[in-house]
Amino acid sequence: MLSLIPKVALVSDSSAGIGHETALVLSRNGYYTYAGIRDVTLSRELSRVAKEEKLPLRIVQLDVNSDSSVNLGVKTVLREQNRVDLLVNNLGYILLGCFEDISMDEMKAQFETNFYGTVRTAQAVLPVMRKHRSGIIINISSIAGTIGFPVSVFVSSQFAVEGLSESMRFELEPFGIHVSIIEAGMVRITNFPNSMVIANNAKKSSSPYSKITRKLTDWQYRTND
């Protein structure tokens, strides 16, 4: 028998790019979708499209870098729906720069968003998924999660997401929960300042790595022309 209850999806980082499009595509295809957005003032375009198309889409404040924000965001979804069928953990951002040019603080910030952000949201939804013995977690990674490129710390964060996802898949399968990874190639990016950050030392012409960083930066810009 077909279930008439719409499935509930939660998508992190939905203000632009992949998250924005995913929230729209899911809500247009039968999911009651919660679009997680760190700064809800950036949700105007998503809200406008949802209203225009009468989509089952709600904005929820969700900063993947914050335990309290994630817990509150998930609590809101559970209060209204009592379930999460699909969690989509978005990619985070790309820290451009070679290893020696990246400070410890920049490295930690990269892992905080790209890796611990994924950890935080997954841990917040798992109790309810286990309770229902059903759920899908999709972690968005990239091809940089499988192959090294001269953006060492971003690549490392993606390798970490890959390892986490593969291991979680084993651990969660007995509870009816599935974990998948999306490995995307080059994606056209519309929100450059939010999705790509150049490490401070990598911006300096005195950097011994300036040539390769400039090449990568130019490459990214050209890709998004």
Binding site: K7, L24, V88, E183, A184, G185
Partner: protein, 59 residues
């Protein structure tokens, strides 16, 4: 390669496909470049693959 950048919407449809699959696959490659790089990684030696990466980055 540069012109082959995929749209966020294309990634979104792959996520929808994964969400609707019972069960979803462990991984979904999205974009021709992702498929090409993964295939080459499997079939090439480390030295051959390093040469390919250098060629891509110098393009």
């Amino acid at each position: 390669m540069i012109e082959m950048g995929i749209s966020p919407e294309e990634v979104a449809y792959s996520i929808l496909k994964a969400g609707q699959s019972k069960p979803p696959l462990p991984r979904y490659l999205v974009g021709d470049d992702a498929a090409m790089i993964t295939e080459n990684r499997k079939s090439m030696t480390d030295i051959e693959f390093k040469f390919l990466k250098n060629t891509i980055l110098n393009a």
